[in-house]
């Protein structure tokens, strides 16, 4: 008995957390077996086992692979574009006061506005194919990256910059040896936010005027009352977001390993 209590106390954190999720799942699964749901509700109801079943069927019948592929390509293209634009622009805006002041109004306004509002415009300009989604992913993900990079550059230790300068470094060398390494934690934090925005862009972009992709799969399943397929899509997005978030956190610890412990937190 005592050992059991010890076992519980040591792992209380995990036991309670996972136990709660497990109980919720079980309740979800058994609810329709315990009480007869009203007919209107059964139409929208599904259980975890049925979701898993639907997932299995979709894979076996090769119905989901293409959607997954399209969504991934859009996500990767858009995010790569956002990194390619946001990172350099953030570095420049962080180093130059003049450019910072000139870019600031656009960044403030666009960052406060949900960029999804441009979706109808992008569909008009780039069509209902892949490119309108790539652009919406890009414009969603670029601002967190830009803002965080700029913040990291601004917070660089001026003494270090002066030391490197005194030894005759040019702007590029200052950037490489001091500014960039110092901004890494900020950039990674920006990347984490950017991934969230990018996934949002993929999902919503594919809801409207698309004919392929996971978002399209969810939207068309919902209109056809295939609730289990909706949850398959939602679960995939959830899993991918969680995996990417964990990966970025790993990346963060890997890239700031050289940093003394007390400066890691910011």
């Amino acid at each position: 008995m005592n050992r059991l209590v010890n076992f519980y106390n040591e792992r209380e954190h995990y036991l309670l957390g996972w136990g709660f999720i497990l109980i919720l799942m079980l309740a979800w699964e058994t609810l329709p077996r315990l009480v007869a749901l009203p007919r209107g509700l059964t139409l929208f109801f599904t259980t975890p086992t049925r979701v898993v079943e639907a997932f299995y069927h979709l894979i076996v019948e090769n119905k989901i692979q293409h959607h997954l592929y399209v969504s991934s390509i859009e996500f990767l293209f858009g995010l790569a574009l956002a990194i390619g634009v946001g990172l350099p622009l953030g570095l420049i805006a962080g180093r130059s006061k003049i450019i910072d002041a000139m870019v600031d109004p656009y960044v403030t306004v666009l960052n406060a506005t949900p960029r999804l509002i441009f979706l109808p415009l992008f569909i008009l300009w780039f069509g209902i194919g892949m490119w309108s989604k790539v652009v919406i992913v890009f414009i969603g993900a670029v601002f967190p990256l830009l803002i965080n990079t700029q913040e990291g550059v601004k917070n660089v230790d001026q003494v270090l910059v002066n030391v490197v300068r005194s030894f005759g470094a040019n702007e590029w060398q200052v950037m490489k040896t001091v500014v960039l390494p110092n901004s890494v934690p900020y950039i990674i934090a920006g990347l984490r936010l950017a991934i969230g925005r990018a996934v949002l862009g993929v999902v919503v972009g594919e809801f409207f005027g698309a004919s392929e992709g996971l978002g399209y799969m969810i939207a068309s399943a919902a209109t056809n009352y295939k609730v289990d397929v909706v949850f398959v899509g939602v679960a995939i997005f959830m899993g991918l977001s969680l995996a990417l978030t964990l990966w970025v956190k790993k990346l963060e610890t890997r890239l700031s390993r050289w940093r003394p412990e007390d400066t890691k937190a910011f």
């Binding site: 209380e12 954190h13 309670l16 957390g17 996972w18 136990g19 709660f20 999720i21 919720l24 929208f44 006061k97 003049i98 002041a101 000139m102 870019v103 600031d104 109004p105 656009y106 403030t108 306004v109 406060a112 506005t113 949900p114 999804l116 509002i117 441009f118 979706l119 109808p120 415009l121 569909i123 008009l124 300009w125 969230g196 996934v199 949002l200 999902v203 919503v204 809801f207 409207f208 978002g215 969810i218 939207a219 399943a221 919902a222 209109t223 009352y225 609730v227 909706v230 899509g233 939602v234 997005f237 959830m238 977001s241 969680l242 978030t245």
Partner: protein, 262 residues
């Protein structure tokens, strides 16, 4: 010399204004003198200004804005009503934190907007579905920021109140609530952005009125100046609300400005 000092002091505002004005002038003159304007594909600032005046004065857009705001306010109020108590409970009771944290973190990290089509199918086209969507997206910043705020309450202050014979109620009202308030305000700013996403997605997807619907309808009918006017209205609203939240944050916690949580 005085001019120089003036520039030094206000260079940010001056350069910002110059760059926005330059952008508008270049946009306008490019489409007037260089490239012939294709009205089905692009538009220019002068036409947007006319459409903006039209929309704002004759008020079709006001009605859409009112419809959207109502759904937004319902969802946002519900998020406050549920989010803050849940967060406070998690921050104050360790076991509650252990139990709820993994589940809620997983939900917070995942794009719940993917549930939008289902919500609209279940709750119908209208206020309820949109309000639920806003609630679902904006409740998590409230939960987690309240949680962080309660957790970071100064233990010393709590002990002081206890030593002077304060009751549980005093603890909540005199220590925990005031020290959590700035966190909640910061959460509200994040929740605002997410809530706006909820409204827009809900209205793009299926709606018959509202600002998101208006914008997508203008897009479908190739009324580009009107569409840009709608986007402009939404932008102004979003900036005003975000900056308002920032001001509120500074007011509630002047000692920790510019510290981003999340």
């Amino acid at each position: 010399m005085e001019l120089r000092a003036f520039y030094q002091e206000h260079y940010r505002a001056i350069l910002g204004t110059v760059s926005v004005l330059a952008f508008i002038v270049i946009w306008e003159s490019l489409l007037t003198f260089v490239i012939p304007l294709n009205p089905f594909f692009f538009t220019k600032p002068s036409l947007i200004a006319v459409a903006f005046k039209e929309q704002v004065i004759h008020g079709a857009l006001w009605r859409d804005l009112a419809v959207s705001s109502r759904a937004f306010l319902w969802g946002f109020s519900l998020a406050i009503l549920f989010g803050i108590p849940i967060g406070a409970f998690m921050g104050w009771r360790k076991r509650a934190e252990y139990t709820l944290d993994p589940f809620l973190t997983a939900l917070y990290a995942s794009p719940l907007v993917a549930l939008a089509p289902l919500m609209i199918v279940v709750f119908g086209v209208g206020l309820l579905a949109k309000a639920m969507l806003v609630f679902l997206l904006s409740v998590f910043p409230f939960i987690f920021n309240t949680f962080a705020g309660v957790r970071s309450t100064d233990r010393l202050l709590i002990n002081v109140v206890r030593s002077f014979g304060g009751k549980e109620k005093d603890l909540y009202l005199k220590v925990i609530f005031p020290s959590t308030l700035p966190y909640i305000a910061a959460g509200a700013r994040i929740a605002l952005g997410r809530g706006l996403v909820g409204i827009i997605v809900g209205e793009f997807y299926a709606a018959s009125e509202g600002i998101g619907f208006a914008i997508s309808r203008f897009g479908d009918t190739y009324k580009l100046p009107e569409m840009f006017a709608g986007i402009l209205v939404l932008m102004i609203g979003a900036v005003v609300m975000t900056e308002g939240m920032r001001k509120l944050e500074a007011l509630l916690a002047p000692w920790k400005m510019s510290q981003e949580s999340q």
